[in-house]
C-alpha cells in the first residue's frame, strides 16, 4: 500500500520532514533518512526551508524515491512563479513522485536569504488549483499536456492561529481547491484538534505535527524564528532549569504521540524538525 492508500484505508500514518543538503554531497542525507525506511509511511522533503540555499525538494524527493522511501514533495510559492511551479509539478510526476504538499511559504526576510526577491505569484490555494488543472490535462495557459499527472495533494494548516475560525475556513477553501490531506504545524493541545474536528468533520485526513526538542537553543530558535509556532507555557516549564533536555523531549513526544493515536482525532503524526534517529527512538518506545 502506498501513502495515499494507507491514509484512505483509515490507518494511523507516520510521516516526517527532512531537508535536502546544503551542498552537493547527498550521501549522508540519504543514509540518515534510510533508517526511516519501512518504519514510517512517507517522508516530506522541504522546499528551501528557512529560505536557505539547498538541493531542491524535487531532487531530494527523487533521491529518496530511488532508495525505496516514499516522498512527499513540498512546494512553496515563495521562490517560483506559476510557470516554474507548473514545470516542477510535471517534473516531479515524470520522476514518479505523486505526493505533493503545497504551502504558501514563509516570507524571505524571516529566513536566511533575506536579500532575495520574494515571488508569491501564487498562494497555496492557487498552487492546488494549478495542480488540479494539470491533472485535467491542461496548463494554466490552456495548453494541452501530452499526458496528465495524477497527484495526491496535501496542504497545511496551523492550529495555533487565533482566531482558529479563520484557519478552519482556510481548510475548507483548500479542500475546495483540491487538497486531500493536511499536515499541521506543531500541535500540543489536543482540545484544539477537537474544535477543528467539530467544524470540519471526521472525514478529512489530518496528520498532526509533533517534534522532539533536543536543546534549549532549539526551543528558543523555534519560538523566535519560525513563523506560526506557539509553544504553551506548561511545555516550556517542563524544560526550565533542566539539563537532560533531550530525554525530556523524547518523553514529551512519546506521551503526545500516544495520546494523539488514542484520541482518534487525527489520522497520523508528522515529525517536524526531528532527527531520524530520534524519531526511531520515540517509535521504539511506543512500539510503533
Amino acid at each position: 500500500m502506498n501513502f495515499e492508500e494507507k491514509l484512505k484505508s483509515g490507518r494511523f500514518v507516520i510521516t516526517a520532514e527532512v531537508s535536502p543538503p546544503r551542498g552537493v554531497d547527498v550521501s549522508s542525507f540519504v543514509s540518515r533518512t534510510l533508517i526511516l525506511k519501512d518504519r514510517i509511511d512517507a517522508v516530506n522533503v522541504t522546499d528551501f526551508q528557512n529560505v536557505g540555499v539547498r538541493i531542491t525538494s524535487l531532487v531530494g524527493s527523487y533521491l529518496l524515491l530511488k532508495d525505496g522511501i516514499e516522498p512527499i514533495f513540498q512546494i512553496t510559492a515563495r521562490d517560483r512563479n506559476r510557470v516554474a511551479i507548473s514545470g516542477e509539478l510535471l517534473s516531479a510526476y515524470a520522476l514518479g513522485i505523486r505526493n505533493v504538499l503545497v504551502l504558501t511559504g514563509d516570507y524571505t526576510t524571516t529566513g536566511i536569504a533575506k536579500s532575495a526577491k520574494p515571488v508569491f505569484d501564487l498562494d497555496a490555494v492557487n498552487i492546488l488549483k494549478i495542480a488540479k488543472g494539470l491533472e485535467s490535462g491542461e496548463d494554466f495557459t490552456g495548453k494541452k499536456l501530452n499526458k496528465s499527472p495524477n497527484f495526491f495533494l496535501g496542504a497545511v494548516f496551523n492550529p495555533n492561529l487565533t482566531p482558529l475560525d479563520i484557519e478552519i475556513l482556510k481548510i475548507k477553501k483548500k479542500i475546495l481547491a483540491g487538497a486531500e490531506f493536511f499536515q499541521t504545524q506543531l500541535v500540543f493541545d489536543l482540545s484544539i484538534m477537537e474544535r477543528v474536528r467539530e467544524k470540519v468533520g471526521g472525514e478529512i485526513k489530518i496528520i498532526a505535527g509533533v517534534t522532539i526538542f533536543k536543546s534549549v537553543e532549539m526551543i528558543e530558535y523555534m519560538i523566535n524564528n519560525v513563523p506560526g509556532i506557539k509553544i504553551p507555557k506548561y511545555i516550556l516549564e517542563k524544560f526550565e532549569g533542566k539539563d537532560n533536555i533531550r530525554s525530556i523531549g523524547i518523553e514529551l513526544c512519546v506521551d503526545l504521540c500516544s495520546k494523539m493515536k488514542e484520541s482518534k482525532l487525527v489520522d497520523g503524526v508528522h515529525f517536524l524538525a526531528s532527527r531520524p534517529s530520534d524519531i526511531i527512538e520515540v517509535m521504539n518506545i511506543l512500539r510503533w
Binding site: 524571516t110 498562494d123 488549483k129 492561529l161 506560526g228
Partner: protein, 202 residues
C-alpha cells in the same frame, strides 16, 4: 494618475441592485471632470442602471475629515442607492465602507500613480496594481497591506493577529474582526493575478 474603467462584464457580476450612487474624481487633477464623467455616463448607460446621485471628489476634499461631511450632505441619495460605484483610484473604495453600509464597488483599475506629484490623501492606500481586486477582500487592499499579497486568505504566519513580516495587524485578521467579508465570499477561490496589465504599462 492613470485609471481605466473596468470591463462591463466584471462590474455586472458585482452589482446587486438597479440603483447606483457614483463617486467620481478628476484623477488627482490629471483629468477634467467634464471629460471623465462623459466617459462614466457613457459606461453607465451600457450598464443599464438608475443613477440616484453623483459626487465629484476634488483633491482638497480627498481626506477623512472632508469625506465625513460630504457623506452627511448626500445621505439621502446614498440611502436610496443599492450600490456605490467608485470611478476613482483604489483608495476611496477602501475608506467608504467605514461610513456607508452598502456594497462599495471599485469600477476602475488604477494603472499608474506618478510619484512626486501632489495627490489626494486616499491615493496613498492604492499601489496602482493595474487590476483592482479589493472587492474580493472586503475592500481592503492586499497589494498594499499584505507582503505576500495573499488572495485566498491569510498565510498562516500571523501570531496573535500580527503579521509575520511587519509589526502590524494582518489585514485578513482585520477583515474577519470587522466582519467585512462573509464566509460565503471568503470560500470563493480567487484566481492568480493577471500581471500583463501592469507589465504592459510604460
Amino acid at each position: 494618475m492613470r485609471i481605466e474603467i473596468k470591463k462591463i462584464e466584471e462590474i455586472k457580476n458585482l452589482i446587486s441592485g438597479k440603483k447606483i450612487f457614483i463617486f467620481s474624481c478628476d484623477n488627482c487633477g490629471f483629468e477634467s471632470f467634464e471629460k471623465k464623467n462623459k466617459e462614466v455616463f457613457f459606461y453607465l448607460a451600457e450598464l443599464k442602471t438608475e443613477i440616484v446621485g453623483i459626487y465629484n471628489l476634488t483633491m482638497d476634499k480627498c481626506n477623512v475629515g472632508s469625506l465625513k461631511k460630504i457623506i452627511d450632505e448626500i445621505e439621502d441619495d446614498i440611502n436610496r442607492a443599492d450600490n456605490i460605484l467608485t470611478f476613482t483610484c483604489g483608495g476611496l473604495p477602501q475608506i467608504l465602507p467605514n461610513y456607508i453600509k452598502k456594497p462599495v464597488i471599485p469600477a476602475t483599475n488604477t494603472l499608474k500613480i506618478e510619484p512626486g506629484r501632489s495627490l489626494g490623501s486616499f491615493a496613498r492606500l492604492c499601489s496602482a496594481c493595474g487590476e483592482c481586486w479589493i472587492y474580493y477582500t472586503g475592500n481592503l487592499c492586499m497589494e498594499k497591506l499584505c507582503p505576500k499579497k495573499m488572495r485566498n486568505g491569510p498565510c498562516g504566519g500571523a501570531e496573535d493577529g500580527i503579521c509575520e513580516v511587519y509589526e502590524r495587524l494582518c489585514p485578513w485578521v482585520i477583515l474577519f474582526r470587522t466582519n467585512r467579508i462573509s464566509e460565503e465570499d471568503f470560500l470563493k477561490i480567487i484566481p492568480p493575478k493577471d500581471f500583463s496589465k501592469i507589465l504592459l504599462q510604460e
